[in-house]
């Protein structure tokens, strides 16, 4: 099936199987491998991207459902060498270790602040419940998001 999707500001066209997940198309056809796959039950959030500005686990959406939509992945956040404030906050606060959950976590965190620009620590913890990390114990992820909210 033919699809046309705006990905990180560029128009991309694809010809996908009906069963192709958005995450597969983004990774395998577009080569945007920043978005990771960490599970097969939509539990981990490693594949979180933005679709029309809202965070979506891209393993829960078919590529064909993104037809006509605007998708932003981790690769679309920075402006040249200038990191997005959330990326910078993760850098400054050691909000990542192995990096595998990081792209999804950053995308989810940006979405969280769009919905709630001044969250409490508890708001951040509950808001990121759907994004799993095995390395950081979430401590510095929470700190990063709170730091980004303070900017």
């Amino acid at each position: 099936m033919k699809i046309t999707v705006t990905v990180n500001g560029k128009t991309r066209e694809g010809d996908v199987e009906a069963r192709t997940l958005l995450v597969q198309w983004v990774r395998e056809s577009l080569g945007l491998t920043g978005t990771n796959i960490g599970c097969d039950t939509s539990s981990c959030g490693a594949c979180t991207v933005h679709v029309d500005g809202e965070s979506v686990k891209s393993c829960t959406m078919l590529a064909v459902q993104a037809d006509g939509c605007s998708v932003t992945t981790i690769e679309g956040l920075a402006n040249g060498d200038t990191l997005h404030p959330m990326q910078q906050a993760f850098m400054d606060n050691h909000g990542l270790q192995c990096g595998y959950c990081t792209p999804g976590m950053v995308m989810a965190a940006i979405s969280l602040l769009q919905e709630n620009p001044s969250p409490t620590e508890e708001d951040v913890r509950i808001g990121l419940e759907g994004n799993l990390c095995r390395c950081t114990g979430y401590h510095n992820i929470v700190k990063s998001v709170l730091a980004a909210a303070g900017k």
Partner: protein, 758 residues
């Protein structure tokens, strides 16, 4: 620059890549020319826990769309291979005559797409004669069903066989005024790195095999891969792309990874393999899984004089590293931080029809710590003394010379009481006790629990040193080659700090190479919290050697005496002492030499023994059993700190994994050996919502065993937090008559414990 970079909160050099385009994990190698045209491998896995294979019918699978080949063990003529840890026990890399756990690989499908492989795997028909599944590790020793004929009673390792003394039962405790006993389950958990296992292989035109592996130890995989393919090691290049976490489970090489070379040779194309999470939950090794029979005895005044432990270690369905953790990691640490004059510890490892047990963050030491810490709590309860005070009374006094415990383990340095005091003070232990008393007096539904642990562990127990090479290029930039293998720990930054400290070259100009058997053929990888004290130490020492080497070049270039040459680290240049105007930069020296480097294998005299104390506070809803972890204070003394930001990150992650085991996570099987937690929807992987922020208390007692003074920090947080959390949950309901709740302390178990105590 001015002053040392060591000890500073230096941000990570590796982060911009991870944050902008993501890491390059093995599944991201889309542009690797050697992998052009790669097909996908999918393994067909056993759906029964224990059974004889009568036949494997792959004909339907071969006819499925996109399928290029299907292989069974017979197609490769696989022979049984012995376990590295008990050579009497053998298996074939693909099950041929028998399956021993759900998830064991049986056949390999090669297909054009991964999805086609998954579809085809479902069409392979395996006919089994089902055997009794042996799931419980104690039942395994009693049943007549043998998982391996060569392992009587399903026992595959026992300290008695090593010649260590047996426990003497009741007689051991005969003289004690007070005795407390317990049987504790240190439950099976899943390591769950966010990146599952993956690999890729290609036979190059020159006949060399290239294998990319998501691993903690490429050099460890090198030999086995070469042997598997019947080629010399020089004909194999193993490379480690970015690795999305390991936690011990990616130390060893697995059958699925070893088989890729031979399959690729057979089909004549490069291959990619990545398991699904559901496969990973069944086939990546699990951790912990011990039953502990504990008895502790002593005097009414709180002095512990006797401690007896029999640890039964579940090895799962293979004799992997898990089988030896109890004898070689749990047993040596049986005494913990306490001066107990009489200790008996036997360990027995058994096979069961479950996923094999491997190392998992702490690997044997969390089990030792949980056993002694839970025993101390039981003892404190028996004599009516505060658990923190019972601990204090029995701590080994501060020692700066090696100390040997009754079980025969020698520790390097320790100051346990200071760690306990700092932690209790920071946590406001007395304040929490007062709040707890108020809630108890009011009879609140939500009760507070406070748990204390004091621990010591072994780090750097693997390897006796490490190799490092530091090279300065003609442009003045440096490349460090290390035998360690980061997968989140931040070596790119940390090793650059160490090299910069010696050379004065800015960390921005220092790159790191690791995990490539062509470029770093010697190395013991990253495991057992060994990296900084062995690998980092080697970088530090070798960078110092390079400076000395560069001085002799500078002397020649400056026509001066080598002994008069000094390195101005701020300028990154060498000059004759007193005449800085005439100097030679690193670029000058490297240019003159066409590059300059130093390489050495730096030995260390032995492992180190980090220690600390944790206080956990929980709130338990006594009506539902629900536990909330509301505060956590961790003091983890890892010796000299290289980068406090990285250290804290390791502690935070360790605490979360400890809390996960204490409160939530457990790999479970039904009585037929079917896994019932085999994906992340069913397995209670801890999330941000279930944790508090962690208060880290700094304490540095340097070890004399390396030039940095550093001990390991990767596992300490897990070792200290797990018993503190478990203890806190029990403490919250102890006034209701509860003396023990096994981990994980789920609402169901907490509620049931309250009900049965009433």
């Amino acid at each position: 620059m001015g002053g040392s970079i060591l000890g500073n909160r230096v941000l990570r050099k590796e982060d911009p890549k991870f944050l902008t385009v993501g890491g390059t994990y093995v599944d991201d190698l889309l542009d690797e020319p050697l992998l052009d045209g790669a097909l996908h491998v999918t393994y067909v896995r056993s759906t029964v826990a224990h059974g004889v294979i009568n036949s494997i019918d792959t004909s339907d699978a071969l006819a499925m769309p996109g399928v290029r080949a299907v292989f069974t063990g017979a197609d490769f003529g696989l022979e049984p291979v012995p376990s590295n840890f008990n050579p009497m026990v053998t298996r074939t890399l693909l099950a041929m005559d028998k399956v021993r756990y759900v998830g064991e690989p049986i056949a390999a499908i090669v297909s054009e797409t991964r999805e086609q492989g998954e579809d085809a795997a479902e069409t392979v028909i395996v006919d089994y004669d089902i055997l009794e599944a042996v799931v419980d590790m104690e039942a395994a020793m009693a049943t007549s069903t043998l998982i391996y004929d060569s392992a009587p009673n399903n026992v595959v390792f026992d300290t008695l066989v090593l010649g260590m003394p047996d426990n003497t039962g009741e007689a051991f405790l005969a003289g004690c005024e007070v005795v407390a006993r317990g049987k504790f389950l240190n439950q099976r958990v899943a390591p769950c790195p966010l990146e599952v296992r993956g690999a890729a292989v290609a036979w190059a035109a020159d006949g060399r095999l290239h294998q990319w592996l998501s691993t903690q130890h490429a050099q460890g995989a090198h030999g086995p891969i070469a042997a598997m393919n019947g080629v010399d090691q020089a004909q194999v290049r193993v490379r480690t792309p970015d690795v999305g976490g390991g936690f011990g489970a990616k130390i060893g090489i697995y059958p699925e990874e070893l088989l890729l070379g031979p399959i690729s040779k057979r089909v004549g194309t490069p291959l990619r393999w990545r398991e699904t999470r559901s496969e990973s939950m069944m086939a990546l090794g699990h951790g912990r899984a011990q039953v502990q029979h504990v008895a502790i005895g002593g005097k009414r005044d709180g002095t512990v004089t006797h401690y007896q432990l029999w640890a039964i270690q579940d090895s799962g369905a293979w004799v992997d590293m898990g089988a030896i953790l109890a004898p070689f990691m749990t047993r040596p640490m049986a005494s913990g931080v306490y001066a107990i004059p009489n200790i008996e510890c036997r360990t027995t490892s058994v096979v069961t029809n479950t996923t094999p047990i491997v190392a998992y963050r702490g690997a044997g030491r969390p089990e030792a710590t949980a056993a002694i810490e839970r025993a101390m709590d039981l003892f404190a309860r028996e004599i009516g003394m505060d658990p923190a005070e019972v601990r204090r009374k029995n701590l080994i006094p501060k020692f700066m010379e090696p100390h040997t415990t009754a079980v025969g383990q020698t520790y390097d340095v320790g100051d346990y009481e200071t760690a306990l005091d700092k932690t209790l003070t920071t946590a406001d232990y007395a304040g929490w006790r007062a709040k707890q008393a108020e809630r108890r007096a009011r009879g609140d539904a939500r009760q507070l629990g406070i748990g204390v642990s004091v621990y010591v562990e072994i780090t750097g127990g693997v390897g006796s040193g490490e190799e490092a090479e530091v090279e300065v290029l003609p442009n003045g930039k440096a490349v460090v080659y290390t035998g360690t293998s980061p997968h989140g720990q931040g070596h790119v930054t940390a090793w650059a700090m160490l090299a910069s400290e010696q050379t004065g070259i800015p960390i921005a100009d220092i790159d790191l190479v690791w995990g490539d058997t062509d470029l770093t053929p010697v190395g013991s990888g990253t495991m057992g919290s060994r990296s900084l004290q062995q690998g980092g130490n080697a970088v530090f020492v070798v960078a110092g050697q390079l400076v000395e080497k560069a001085k002799s070049v500078a002397a020649r270039l400056l026509e001066a005496n080598e002994n008069d040459i000094v390195l101005d680290k701020d300028a990154g240049a060498f000059h004759v002492a007193g005449t800085p105007a005439l100097s030679k930069t690193w670029a000058d020296i490297a240019s003159a030499e066409g590059g300059i480097s130093a390489k050495d294998n730096i030995a260390v005299p032995g492992p180190t023994f980090p220690f600390g104390a944790h206080v956990a506070v929980v709130e338990v809803d006594t009506e539902t059993g629900k536990v909330r972890h509301i505060a956590h204070v961790a003091c983890d003394d890892a010796g000299t700190v290289l980068n406090p930001m990285l250290l804290e990150g390791q502690i935070h992650g360790g605490v979360a994994q400890g809390a996960a085991q204490a409160l939530l996570e457990e790999v479970r099987y039904d009585s037929d050996g079917n896994p019932i937690t085999s994906n992340l929807a069913d397995y209670a992987f801890i999330s941000a919502a279930e944790l508090p922020s962690v208060t880290v208390v700094h304490m540095e007692t340097p070890t004399p065993r390396n030039s940095i003074g550093a001990k390991g920090i990767g596992e300490s947080g897990t070792i200290g937090s797990t018993p503190a959390l478990q203890s806190a949950v029990v403490d919250a309901v102890s006034h209701l008559g509860v003396s023990h709740i096994d981990m994980p302390t789920t609402p169901e178990k907490v509620w049931a414990a309250i009900q049965s105590a009433r």
